[in-house]
Symmetry: D2
Subunit: 342 residues, 4 copies
């Protein structure tokens, strides 16, 4: 259920509507838009008697939301959501004119490795750095990340190069620390339906980058985002990273059609990870160009200066010099769509 | 790496080998077998110098384990693992001659509902009861389970009907409670690669029923079990519950070929959930028969006395009278393979 | 559209209805049933004015068929279709009480090979022999079959061992020859939507065994059968042979849930090919048992006395002695369902 | 096996090598390249004794080809193959600098419909027209195309608008006619492994556009092309049109990663069909841009002036005015890659 306020409704009137909703035992989610404010209602298990709400001052109309997701739906908020990620070198805003670039190694391996790569990707123009301190690995015997030590290295990257930090949380404990050290909390594909973790992320004060699960439908993907938003954190960036199919020429099948599909149904920004999406270094550049051409709001790419010795995902990491080319090409493609990179 | 002890090796010799392994900074996993004991080694990041181990008294040989999973591999333990689930009405052992039946509603909805269904499935012969107190639901607005209240109802089912309890944990907090109230801790398909939860389950003192993820390969499935076992909990029951494919005549595609595939590679028992595996009431019986015919060590089936009013998964729940037929048919199929039901 | 005749309608009345349908520029398909005859109508591009038909003597009612397939639908014919395959050693009827067994090599390689295998599978009880004379191979450089020479060898198998012959046609020319020499015309998975070939098979006078395509939905599968039946050949046996998914422990994923799904929607018999369905010798037995337990009307299995030297599909062919076990086990499973094997 | 000639080898020397190969009972495929000529050998069932070939005048070396496909492999021909499609308005060359555009309705419905659409897409710049005269339809009761009457209408499109014609053949008979009337013979996804049809196309004198099967791996796709080329027709254009997966927000999942994958392994050009690849009008533009950004050699797009009344595939056809935008955007993207459109 969505309460649409009149365009000239006052803040007080919005507040009054929210209070009435709370009195009904429900939860109000005020969603300010360019031309109007809407108030989403969640928490109802059946139909809501809208009579009392519709007659309140400042209310234009009450409209039911038929989709299983509500707050992330474009029905509820017509304009794109802008998700701002702070970075000393210049904030990056996802969902607007800018195409954001997030680059760095799969995992933080050592301080030297992280700083070396950060210097290179920053020089190429990236303002956001990625790198895992907690790595969800298929095998219990694989390198699982440096944990808080890794987060401290990431914080040093921010201090030295002015880059905002994007890094993954794998459970509630790591999320507490990631929220403390990083600028964006990443939820990985394997945890897309770890609803406990999603709810915790929904209570965090930092933006969340939510990766699509390996076999998630679009509805499930948006519903996972709804878990986060319904807890009060509206700063969600969706991320397509390839789905699992029968094909064997790539590690996953990058589903770029999900970009226009998301943009039709939701106001949230969507970025693409061509590194996991293909799993092959030589396919990262063409698919990065394709993602931006399809309308992606950003690119998340793995870069390593010595991929043959990387502790994880070496075969899909590109070299810093390839990243330079990527930025140049992506910028040119973005320009065709009237967009800018950094 | 696996240290195979001689058949006449003493307990003391096994203990000494374990201590030496610990001194090397590694972790020892003694695995007693019918004819010999083997000691699995985990925690090494590279090759192990086996010289000092091979020369110890009682050691037959040191053999490298090539598979990415080790402790769950049949290379390490040739005989089937038997996982005993205690039930006042009679313990159920998975992995042996018995085909175990676990039956009950998708979710515990009310005390009355749980007791009604329990009475019916117990009368039909089931000694294990399933029912979710914590439900991982795709939508944040769907019924999420009764939590501890549901667990208490399940404990009452055990008290009144003598049934062992199988129920799902969705995060560390719920796992603490499930471990306290239930007899088997279920890890759901969506959490198959929630490695933090797997590790916690590996430290639990109760058997774990691990469901295959919706798009998990066999290697990933066994590796998830390895996460649990590597933490010290050897009582893992695998569960096939259908994988996600392009087909639309069932909710998931039940992959029965994974039964002989698991049995070839691993010593762990494997059961089948034809309810989630098909998502259609009218397909539960034929696929239950098929699962047992293919060699499954058990069946996990949703039963509801009033499926049209079930709060979750009504369309795939069978009626108690259908469950009676199921038990009869499954028993006859099991007999063909020289196996028994209850 | 379906014209349902009264139970006491005469042959003449049925004929009159068919003539009227023809006068309307449409095609009539009389479908005799146990208690009544129905007349299917195809060829209409829109709604049919049923007034004139409903008022004809002997007509009970005219009912629209909403499914995209009509003649193969159970709406049109409630009882199972029985498809009789003639064999000197005893005809085999698919769709009734009997579970039919079809066994033989993937390809006819030499006269000696075919006769050797035929003798073994006949001795084990099989009355139908399979073997490809035309092999649709992924590579143009692989063995493509002996063509008519192979068909002649198959005819010799029938003469010497009394077995009915099932063999594949790959185009119109080979279908002409297969129709001449064999007892069942097989259409392979790769040709399931070769509509030109389906129509030609629909004009043949021999039963057709139609394999499900690698990524065919149930609707597409039934619609492919509809192509055959709509041309006048009602003797169609459906065959599940595995679908393509992400899994890698088998060559294909055998979808046994399609058995009850087909039986619900169609009156046609359905058999299972566990050899292509798994691609692994050690999985053929358990999945054959499972198929029969799920309700399959038959099994199509590859047997080779020297699989390591087979020109095609050696790894999935079982040995004659394994086939003996298979027949024994399948017979015991069938008995549980009140069915017989041969 | 591949015989690489010296760069200064004469035509006579190449001819002599081909004759020697024929004498060995094998088939020679001379493949002229920019700097050298190579001669592919097919028809061998085992290793070839290369001694006699290597010692012939003009031969540089004999190299084995390890891939299952040979003639379509980049191992055999390093430079891109250029496939020229003649059109009175200006030939279109696939595989070079140009990005070719093929546009038109799914099916030729009427003369007026075809001419109306042709006029619009020609005005927007397209020089190649697509439209089905033979439609492989899932249901036998759906519109199957106008057959030769449709081909004659297509010929009129060429005469009036100077456009080259691309249209599908579904069996040997229709291929005879398509070869007579059209400029490119299309083989549809459902027939990608109709090997009989592929061989017939390999004996045709017109270029072939081969669509990827719904669940074809890259190897199978290239092997299907190998069937055509091995019969002597080297003018093959590959076409990605989406694969079948679990996703439901598009009709198929367009796999753009296959573009760089094909370009790495094969010298053949590859184009993309975003209409079938997505099945949704609103996704055709973004995915067309993405395809060209990923490096596609062309786009095959369905355009209809009245899609709501189209006899097939209306929901995925774009309007002529949308096609104008598509050409403009695709041209701008192509320019970023140093390529031109028309």
């Amino acid at each position: 259920m969505l309460v649409v306020m009149q365009s000239h409704a006052t803040d007080e009137q919005v507040r009054a509507v929210c209070e009435r909703i709370a009195q009904l035992g429900l939860r109000a989610h005020p969603i300010p838009g360019a031309g109007r404010t809407a108030v989403g209602i969640t928490g109802n298990s059946g139909a809501i008697d809208t009579g009392s709400l519709e007659s309140m001052p400042g209310v234009a109309e009450c409209i039911p939301v038929s989709k299983p997701y509500k707050l992330v739906s474009r029905d509820v908020k017509e304009e794109n959501s802008l998700v701002r990620v702070p970075a000393p070198a210049g904030d990056v805003i996802f969902g607007g004119k800018d195409v954001g670039i997030v680059a760095g190694p799969c995992a933080v391996e050592t301080r030297e490795q992280a700083l070396t790569i950060a210097e290179r990707v920053r020089a190429a123009g990236a303002r956001l750095f990625r790198g895992g301190a907690y790595k969800p690995r298929t095998s219990p015997y694989s390198f699982q990340g440096l944990a808080e030590e890794g987060l401290k290295i990431l914080a040093e990257v921010r201090d030295r190069f002015g880059m905002g930090i994007v890094t993954e949380a794998v459970d509630n404990e790591s999320l507490d620390l990631v929220e403390k050290y990083a600028d964006v909390i990443q939820i990985g594909a394997r945890n897309m339906q770890n609803f406990s973790l999603l709810k915790r992320a929904g209570r965090a004060r930092k933006p969340v980058l939510l990766k699509r699960g390996m076999s998630a439908t679009l509805d499930e993907f948006l519903m996972a985002a709804e878990y986060i938003v319904s807890e009060g954190n509206y700063n969600v960036i969706l991320c397509e990273r390839g789905v699992r199919t029968f094909t064997d020429h790539t590690r996953n099948t990058l589903d770029l059609s999900v970009i226009p599909a998301v943009q039709r149904l939701s106001h949230l920004p969507i970025v693409v990870d061509p590194s996991h999406g293909t799993g092959r270094r030589n396919k990262v550049l063409p698919l990065s160009r394709a993602a931006v051409a399809a309308g992606a709001d950003g690119i998340l790419v793995e870069v390593h200066h010595d991929p043959d010795r990387a502790l994880s995902d070496g075969p899909q990491s590109i070299l810093p010099e390839e990243f330079n080319v990527l930025v140049t090409e992506v910028r040119a493609i973005a320009a065709v769509l009237g967009r800018t990179v950094n």
